[in-house]
Subunit: 328 residues, 2 copies
């Protein structure tokens, strides 16, 4: 016998033990009731993942739940916010109790890892789709936006770029992970790390930050457009993992890094005088960050310009991932 | 040429003029940044509407946008909250600019009507589906929950019940609205009114409140289960519109009222000593409320008992709307 939706929500998602005193009422009423401490603002983000658009039907419920949470927390990280609560809207084609049990366990486990409370949501019938609204605290007027890049700012990215796109390519080709490089790349696609601590460490020194969900060209482009400036990026400075370079030639690796998307690393800018302060703060974290270029005056459009060994080069491949454009 | 998703969001949903000083940053960044005033809590609710599950493919984009907003604000109303912000996750099978233009205009118009700001969201490709997360302010510890009904409380419902289910039945049968009764019933289905002012007027006198989305039996059942009590409901007291009684016999009208769902009226309880105060407060609103029964001690399960002219009767039809159960 199929379980009703109320039973579903109760049985699988109410298992968490609430230890968050910002939550006064959670799942099971018309609304959740929560509090925001004085001197804090709320950062709010919403992302949807649809089967066959954002993930393959072959993805495991564990990886899907993890990634749905991680990608939303990544948006909070990019503002320098401390994640607090998520609401989950889960649309399912049918009631597969094994699937839901595994999905919910992974979701709650991931939330617990980041001290985030599931405060409510909705379960509906339809094609598989997950919408999460995530909320976090950020000190008043300290949130890191996209529109405050200044000419002369240094542009940084965290960790390595392109791994996720390389891993997705392997998965799409049906390639099993036969060595540690394959495992690394595929895990970078399936299990991206939201850079929450890094985002918070950037408060007070970064002028802008964004998480790299659509690829560096596209996401840096958002910063440039919002900040009304341009940028130059040195291709030889792009941080590329040894795994991507073991598996792909440099040109392909650069393409993954620039336009592949879904790395969920942070791209941010700082004024040059904060370089030492940044390095000091990074020492306390386990996330290397690399300077890849600088912010320039606007010249023509807002696209970043690329250099190789200091000389201008043209980049010809696709400029970012867009679900609607992809379908043409 | 298809527009990209970023263009879509910008072009159609950024048209609103922000006049809400609780919103410091809205559409166009990784997150929105908002503030909650001191002494207030935040009420948060999420609801999804999926094509062919929650609405027919024939629904107009105007009605769909209206209803997606109204049903979420209805949850805030049931807590006594003042709606403030919504996030919109819109999944579309393709880019039909006429459709999106009409949908977004209706959505923004509806939000404006209720002084609510669209603070962000996501646009994705897939089967048509709308998830809204709505947030509102409620004075600290004043939110009206489901778990505080007391034995002896009087049970009230707002306006009339069953109209929406009657209107849906007409629409499903392909019946054109030929007279004012048909128009009334079908509009009650397509354009439910979130009882926001009523919800706020109930603060301090109502022990519990819920909005009637699944039908009185099911929704009152949620109150009874959460409050660990039972109830008796007098069937002759059910408020039925003249339109429903002009079009259906009393038995059918009662069935619509008890288990039809989607009325989005409020069901609430007050202690008898607040009867006069309730009537005083209702005079300032244009929403009649009717006492239909009272809260009793738990006896067996949490289902409400029904009386007709004071004598117990058995209700045999379905107890509420459940998307998964319906599919069996």
């Amino acid at each position: 016998m199929a379980m009703g939706e109320f039973d579903l929500i109760k049985r699988y998602f109410q298992q968490q033990i609430l230890v968050d005193d910002s939550v006064q009422l959670s799942i099971g009423d018309d609304c959740a009731l929560v509090s925001v401490p004085e001197n804090y603002q709320l950062a709010i983000t919403t992302d949807t993942m649809v089967e066959n658009t954002h993930f393959l039907p072959t993805i495991s419920p564990e990886d899907l739940a993890y990634k749905a949470v991680a990608t939303n927390l990544s948006d909070l990280a990019a503002m320098g916010a401390q994640p607090k609560w998520v609401s989950l809207a889960l649309t399912l084609p049918n009631v597969d109790e094994n699937w839901i049990s595994t999905f919910s366990q992974s979701l709650l486990h991931t939330l617990k890892q980041y001290n985030v409370t599931l405060i409510g949501g909705d379960t509906t019938k339809g094609n598989l789709s997950i919408t999460i609204t995530a909320q976090g605290f950020v000190e008043k007027n300290k949130g890191i936006c996209r529109h405050k890049a200044q000419i002369g700012d240094l542009i940084y990215v965290s960790s390595t770029l392109g791994d996720s796109a390389a891993g997705l390519t392997q998965i799409l080709l049906g390639k099993s992970a036969v060595d540690s490089d394959d495992v690394f790349l595929q895990q970078r696609h399936l299990r991206p790390t939201p850079r929450i601590e890094l985002g918070q460490a950037l408060i007070g020194i970064a002028h802008v930050a964004i998480d790299l969900s659509d690829g560096l060209i596209s996401d840096l482009g958002h910063i440039l457009e919002r900040s009304q400036c341009s940028a130059e990026v040195e291709l030889t400075a792009l941080p590329l993992s040894s795994s991507i370079l073991n598996k792909y030639d440099r040109t392909q690796a650069e393409q993954f890094a620039l336009s592949g998307g879904e790395d969920y690393e942070l791209c941010f800018t700082i004024p040059p005088e904060y370089k030492d302060e940044l390095e000091l703060r990074l020492k306390k974290l386990n996330v290397p960050c690399t300077c890849i270029g600088k912010i320039n005056e606007k010249c023509g459009d807002f696209s970043p310009r690329f250099l190789r060994d200091g000389k201008p080069v043209n980049i010809t491949f696709s400029s970012g991932f867009d679900h609607f454009k992809e379908s043409k």
